[in-house]
């Protein structure tokens, strides 16, 4: 009888141990899956943030992995555009319309207008060190970028020598597409 009681207790103890271990395992499994979920969410969040942050960045666009070069005209401006800035914008739009209409349709040439005063554009402004009005021509080929700063030419010429400025911009884009 005593043996039976000892055996019964042993079985109960074993069962309890197993059930505890099982629940611990479940707990840890749950924890693991929760942490995986958390990692996944974090990854998704970071991807979303990356997408959000680099939305204007030609380096992270689909064109970055294309087999032929693509060009993005990066036009940074303040919230309140001045006459020179408007003249630059007009020249850029005219060049894209007159000389790169087909390339614009296929997104081989793109225009990115960025408000440097908008907080959401902070990352791209930092990248280009553009904290005011600035103009860059960014060539992207096989994931590599080369950036040409055309701010000086833009301000010097766009208001009073628009044709000269347009020619410089056109030449730069054509060069970068090769």
């Amino acid at each position: 009888m005593q043996r039976k009681i000892v055996f019964l207790f042993s079985v109960i103890a074993l069962l309890m141990l197993y059930s505890c271990g099982g629940s611990k395992q479940n707990e840890s499994e749950q924890k693991d899956s929760a942490s995986i979920e958390a990692v996944d969410t974090a990854t998704a969040d970071s991807m979303a943030t990356d997408q959000k942050t680099n939305n204007n960045d030609p380096g992270t666009s689909k064109a970055a992995v294309a087999e032929t070069p693509s060009v993005t005209v990066m036009l940074f401006h303040a919230t309140r555009k001045c006459a020179s800035c408007i003249a630059i914008t007009d020249c850029v739009n005219a060049v894209l319309k007159e000389s790169f209409s087909a390339e614009t349709k296929t997104k081989k040439v793109r225009l990115n207008e960025i408000n440097a005063d908008d907080e959401k554009n902070e990352a791209i402004c930092e990248k280009y060190e553009a904290f005011g009005t600035a103009l860059f021509v960014t060539r992207t080929f096989k994931g590599k970028e080369s950036i040409t700063d055309m701010t000086a030419q833009a301000f010097k010429l766009a208001s009073n020598k628009p044709d000269e400025f347009k020619k410089l911009l056109r030449d730069q884009i054509q060069k970068d597409l090769k």
Partner: protein, 136 residues
């Protein structure tokens, strides 16, 4: 009244020291603008003058550095405008070297792209000036 006169005299002195170019002059800081100046263009001039007065006061007073502004749309400035291709807002440094040699550094891009962070613009401006002043 006395204070106003004194301020005016001080302003005049600063202007004169900025405008006078002589045989000691080593660096010209030229700021070109169009007739209808925008806020950014004015801010660039303001910050440039402030930086020169803060960091290069002695050189300004002795005309080693000379700062001048020009309206690029005026006929009287046509020759300079052509020399610097300054048909719009332009900020340019010219280091005057012996035998009439010149080194010209266009910093218009620095002005317009960095003026949103004036301290960064001043830092870059000083780098360029110091670099040019080192030239023999």
């Amino acid at each position: 009244m006395k204070r106003t006169i004194l301020s005016f005299a001080a302003l005049l002195l600063v202007s004169v020291s900025m405008l006078a170019q002589n045989e000691n002059t080593k660096l010209l800081v030229y700021d070109f603008h169009i007739t209808n100046r925008c806020a950014t263009c004015q801010k660039i001039e303001e910050v440039t003058v402030e930086a020169l007065n803060t960091f290069y006061k002695a050189q300004l007073d002795s005309s080693i550095i000379v700062f001048k502004t020009f309206n690029c749309e005026l006929e009287e400035n046509a020759e300079l405008v052509k020399k610097y291709s300054a048909y719009g807002s332009t900020l340019v440094l010219t280091r005057l070297l012996p035998e009439g040699k010149e080194v010209i550094v266009d910093i218009t891009d620095l002005g317009f792209s960095k003026i949103g962070k004036p301290e960064l613009f001043v830092e870059k401006l000083r780098e360029k000036i110091d670099e040019l002043m080192m030239l023999e």
